[in-house]
């Protein structure tokens, strides 16, 4: 069995190099398909992470009118925290808000100067509310709006975040859908071209196949080289595609703010490198073997 494996593998390698141009075309299209699909997988991983980060950041901030006493706010905080849809409600006092504001704008002397000119603290005390599930924000929002203390409120900023979250969800969805369709099209083209490459090899070797049969080669022995050929396209394509993706990510990295992912794009990519590669390899081998099998069934009469 090992001997058959060795000999057929050798045979397949020879076929692969002998059909130079066709092998190159098949390898190229396989690389391109796997590149596209690998990028898609990577982007959807990144998209999921971005989405998760945003979800964690999503909150409702409730600002109180300046004349509301701290004691009253703390009471409201307690009430909100008792709501079982709410994960947390954090109280930020006027002083805290001012300190945060100063820290955030430490590099902007003009803003800080104008703050000095105002003289008193213009910021409002607030509660930052996080939901257990972002889908529950509308319900929480309603509860707050209809509460007895809603007249103490200066404003609730909810709509702003909601738009952003919705936008991200929908663009991730669109990207996935487009990518999936494109990926499917290229998979199909890959199958066609590899199928054609294997068909050509079979056609070129009509005589050899005939002789193999006459001298008593088993069917497995005759078929294996063509299956291996398909696997070569997969292996070569997966490796080349991965190199291309590494390059793409390296080029894209500087244009990508670390804040969105919570880390560098390149960094995130290397964490997921193996998963992406395994996925490409698996898909490539499935495509390669599938197209070889179709060609063998259709053209290799034993």
């Amino acid at each position: 069995m090992l001997l058959t494996f060795k000999r057929t593998l050798k045979e397949a390698l020879r076929n692969f190099f002998r059909n130079g141009l066709m092998s190159f075309a098949a390898l190229g299209i396989m690389t391109f398909s796997l590149y596209l699909i690998g990028m898609l997988v990577f982007l959807s991983l990144a998209g999921n992470l971005i989405f998760k980060n945003l979800e964690e950041k999503a909150n409702i901030s409730v600002y109180f009118k300046p004349d509301v006493e701290e004691e009253a706010i703390l009471k409201v905080q307690k009430e909100i925290e008792e709501n079982n849809q709410v994960l947390s409600a954090i109280y930020i006092s006027k002083e805290q808000a001012l300190a945060d504001f100063r820290a955030d704008n430490a590099d902007e002397p003009i803003i800080l100067e104008s703050l000095e000119e105002i003289g008193e603290n213009p910021l409002l005390a607030s509660l930052t509310i996080q939901a257990k599930d972002p889908n529950q924000f509308p319900a929480i929002y309603e509860t707050i709006n209809q509460s007895a203390w809603s007249e103490n409120l200066s404003r609730i900023n909810y709509e702003k975040n909601k738009d952003l979250i919705d936008k991200i969800v929908s663009s991730v969805k669109t990207a996935k859908k487009t990518g999936f369709i494109l990926g499917a099209i290229f998979c199909f083209i890959s199958i066609l071209i590899i199928f054609n490459a294997v068909r050509l090899t079979i056609y070129n070797q009509k005589q050899e196949i005939e002789i193999m049969r006459l001298v008593g080669a088993s069917n497995v022995y005759i078929r294996l080289p063509y299956l291996f050929e398909g696997v070569f396209y997969a292996l070569g394509g997966a490796i080349a595609a991965l190199l291309l993706i590494i390059l793409t990510v390296k080029i894209a990295d500087p244009y990508f703010s670390d804040k969105i992912l919570g880390q560098g794009l390149n960094n995130f990519f290397w964490q997921n490198l193996l998963n992406i590669f395994y996925f490409q390899l698996l898909l490539g081998i499935i495509l390669g073997i599938l197209s070889s099998l179709i060609a063998i069934r259709k053209y290799l009469k034993i």
Binding site: I211, G216, S218, N219
Partner: protein, 227 residues
């Protein structure tokens, strides 16, 4: 060794290649099949090495019906039969040695066996000194000897030769005939399909005459009885 029992072969398009063939070939026989082109000689041979299956009737090899062999085991059947053709069917990019070795490689023989058996068999067919030559560097007769060496490498019980002298000059043809007689002498059954009147007359063994898919003569020590 080989028995045809009411064998009829009809190809697609209703072409009747063989009709109601009944025949027995015993171990060690040298049987020549003669007949015009298209008479059914090649089909007759193809039924033996399982390239074709009969439309009706049965072909037996060593008492076992060939159509009963499972598809994935047909290669085992073919190993028992050596085949030689008019156009040699050698692989052009392989040397004489490699062409013969190929038959052992594809059936999974270990390398030691290949290195031992191939030179031996090439010696027997008289090409011991031309093992490293490519087919294009060999004469037609020599190429056919390589083909015989390849057919013999599995030590088959039977050799099927379809017009082996068809492409050869008279002298080479005669050498091939002598080679076949030598192979037959060591006990291998030979079935030869041929047009070569001279050769068949010299062999002077059993002759079966086929015409329009039917056996019209079977002579135990025959001369070429067509024309």
């Amino acid at each position: 060794m080989i028995k045809f029992d009411k064998v009829t072969k009809i190809y697609k398009g209703d072409f009747k290649a063989l009709e109601d063939i009944n025949l027995e070939i015993l171990p060690g026989e040298f049987v020549s099949i003669v007949g015009k082109s298209g008479a059914g000689k090649s089909t007759f041979l193809k039924l033996i090495y399982a390239e074709e299956m009969p439309t009706s009737g049965q072909v037996f090899f060593d008492e076992k019906p060939i159509d009963g062999i499972k598809k994935r085991l047909i290669h085992e059947h073919r190993k028992k039969i050596g085949t030689v053709f008019q156009d040699f069917k050698l692989l052009p990019q392989k040397t004489a040695f490699e062409n013969v070795a190929y038959a052992l490689e594809v059936s999974g023989a270990p390398n030691e066996e290949i290195l031992e058996d191939v030179p031996q068999i090439l010696d027997i067919v008289g090409l011991g000194n031309k093992m490293e030559k490519f087919p294009r560097q060999l004469s037609g007769g020599e190429q056919q000897r390589v083909a015989f060496a390849r057919a013999l490498i599995h030590k088959p019980k039977i050799i099927i030769a379809d017009e082996p002298t068809g492409n050869l000059d008279p002298i080479s043809s005669w050498e091939i005939v002598q080679l076949m007689m030598k192979i037959n002498e060591i006990g291998t059954t030979i079935i030869l399909a041929s047009h070569n009147k001279n050769a068949i007359d010299k062999i002077n063994k059993r002759v079966i005459v086929v015409e329009n898919g039917k056996i019209i003569g079977d002579y135990s020590t025959g001369k070429y009885k067509l024309d």
